[in-house]
Subunit: 174 residues, 4 copies
DNA sequence: CATGAATGAGTGTTCATTCAT
DNA sequence: TATGAATGAACACTCATTCAT
C-alpha cells in the first residue's frame, strides 16, 4: 500500500490525472479498473518471459537460466511501482481465470524452452516446468516484497540463476 | 477471501465467540487484532522451522532439505484456512518489524543448520541462508496460493527438497 | 417534497432522530424504509375505511356516503405531513403489490357496505365498488394535493358526499 | 418508471435526438426542460377541454358530461406514455404557478359550460365548478395510474359521465 | 466485565452541468 | 452551432469504534 495510500476510486483517478467521473466512463466499476491494471501489468511480464524464452531457445542450461531470471527480474522491476500493491489487491478480485491464463502462457513458453535445451533431457517436462515457474515467480516475489534494496536484488540476481540451473541439472536425465 | 467473507470486526468477533465490545477490550483496534493473529500464525511456523532445524542439525544435506521442506509445508498446511487470507491482510498492516523479527529467527535457525552440515561448507553463509529461506518461503507460497490441490502439494513435496539440495550443493565448497 | 427537502437517507434518518447507520440497522436499503413508511400510512387509512364501513353497515345511502367520506378525509388529514411526499415517492418503489392489497381490502369493505344498503340495490356491485372507490380516492387526492386550505377542505366535505350519493342513487335499481 | 428508465439528461437528450450539449442550449437546466414538457402536455389537455366546452355549450347535462369526460379521457390517453411519468416528476418541480394557471383556464371553460346548461341552474357556480373539475381530474388519474387496462378504461368511460351528471343534477336548482 | 445498538466518517458510484473542439 | 468527454458535488451504503446498560 506504500506510495498509494488507500486505493480509493477518487485517489486512483486523481493519480491517473482524471476525475472520478471520467474514470467511470472507461471502467464500469472499481474492480474492472483494478483488473485492467493487473492485466496490463501481467501482460508486460508474460511478454517479457515469452520473448526471453524464444531468444534463449537452444542455448545451454546455464545461459537459459541466467537469461530467464534476468528478463523476469527486469520486467518485474520495470513496473515495480504498482506491482506490489497489485498482488495485495488481486486477492479481492476474481482473478482466477486471468492468473490461470497468464500461468498457462508462461508455462507454454518455459516448457518449449526447456525442451530446446541441448544439454539436458527432462523425463517429466510438465512437472519440471511447473516447478521452475513456481521457483522463479515465488522466489522473486518473496525476495522483493519486504525490501527491494540493491543488496536484495543483487542476491536474487546471483543466486536465482544458480537455483534454477542446479534444479534443472538435478532433474535432468544424464 | 471466500470462506471468510469480509473480515469485519463484528464477524471476526462472532466467529471468535464474543461480542465486538469484548473484542475491543483486548485489542485497541482492528489492526492490533489482525496483527496478533498474524503474529500467532507466524510463531507457529517459526517454531516448526526452529525445531526442525534443531532436529536436523548434523544430518547430511539430503536429509536436511527433505526434513526442512517437510516441516515447513506441514506447518503452513496446518493453518491453511487463515494462512492465505493473512497474506492479503498483512499488506494493510504495518508488519515490517514483525516480519523482520520472524525472518531473523528463521534465518538464525537455518544458518545454524547449514553450518552443521557434515557434507557441505558454505563460503558466504548469509547469502546462502537468505537465498534458501527465500526459495523455501516463496516457492511454497507461489505453489499453494492459487490452488492447494493434492497434485500441487505432491509436486512441491517432491520438487522443493530437490531444489534446495541442488542449490546448496551448487554453492557448497567442494 | 416541501418540508422535507430531498429525501436523502441521512436527512430522513436525522429527521427520525437517529443516524444513518442506525437506520440501516432496521432497513436493508432506502426503498425498504420508504416502503415501510408508505405501508404504515396506508394501513392507517385502510383501517379507518374498514371501521367506517362496519359502523355504517345497514344505514341509508345518505348516511353511508357522509360517514365514509368523513372517515376517509379524517384519516388522510391525520397523516397529511408525509402523505403527499409519499405519493411522489411511491412511483420509484415497487409498490404494485402493496397498492393492490390495500385496494382489495378497501374494495372488500366498500362492497360489503354497499350490499348492506337498505335503500339501494346494485346490479353490478363490482363495477360500482370500483367506481365509488376511485371517485373517493381520486377526488380527495386531486382536491388536496395542490392546496389543503380550509376552504378546499370544506368544499370536499360538502360536495364529495353529494357526489357519492348522487352516483350511487343513479346506478341503483329503483 | 419502467419504459423510461431513469430520466437522466443524457437519456432524455438522446431520446430527443440531440446531444446533451445541444439540449442545454435550449434549456438552462433539467428542471426547465421538464417544466416545458409538462407545460406542453398540460396545454394539450387544457385545449382539449376548452374546445370540448365550447362545442358542448348549450347542450343538455347528459350530453355535456358525456362529451366532457370523453374529450378529457381522449386527451389524457393520447399522451399516456409520458403522462404518468410527468406526475411523478412534477413533484420535484416548482409547478405551483403552472398548475394554478392551467386549473384556472379549465375552471373558466367548465364554468362557462355549466352556465350554458339549458336544463340546470347552479346556485354556487364556483363551488360546483371546482367540485366537477376535481371529480373529473382526480377520478381519471386514480383510475388509470396503477392499471390502464381496457377494462379499467371501459369502467371510467361508462361510470364517470354518470357520476358527473348525477352530481350536477343533485346540486342543480329544480 | 460483556454486550450490541448507535454513530458518522469514508467509500463507490451517479448524473447534472460545462466547455474545448 | 452541435457535440460529448470531463468534472465533482451529492448520494446510498458500510463498518470500525464507542458507550450506556
Amino acid at each position: 500500500m506504500e506510495g498509494i495510500g488507500k486505493l480509493t476510486t477518487t485517489r486512483v483517478a486523481e493519480r491517473a490525472g482524471v476525475s472520478v467521473g471520467t474514470m467511470y466512463q472507461y471502467f464500469p466499476h472499481k474492480q474492472a479498473l483494478l483488473y485492467a491494471v493487473l492485466e496490463q501489468y501481467l501482460e508486460h511480464v508474460v511478454i517479457a518471459v515469452e520473448q526471453a524464452c524464444e531468444r534463449l531457445a537452444g542455448t545451454p542450461l546455464a545461459e537459459m537460466t541466467e537469461g530467464l531470471v534476468h528478463s523476469y527480474l527486469e520486467a518485474k522491476l520495470r513496473h515495480m511501482p504498482g506491482s506490489l500493491a497489485l498482488y495485495a489487491i488481486a486477492a479481492d478480485l476474481d482473478t482466477a481465470m486471468l492468473i490461470a491464463d497468464v500461468t498457462a502462457r508462461v508455462d507454454r513458453a518455459v516448457r518449449r524452452l526447456l525442451l530446446s535445451a541441448p544439454d539436458a533431457v527432462f523425463d517429466d517436462i510438465d512437472k519440471v516446468t511447473f516447478a521452475l515457474r513456481t521457483l522463479l515467480v515465488g522466489t522473486v516475489r518473496a525476495g522483493l516484497e519486504h525490501d527491494a534494496s540493491p543488496t536484495t536484488l543483487a542476491m536474487l540476481r546471483s543466486q536465482l540463476p544458480l537455483m534454477c540451473r542446479a534444479y534443472l541439472v538435478a532433474v535432468s536425465r544424464d
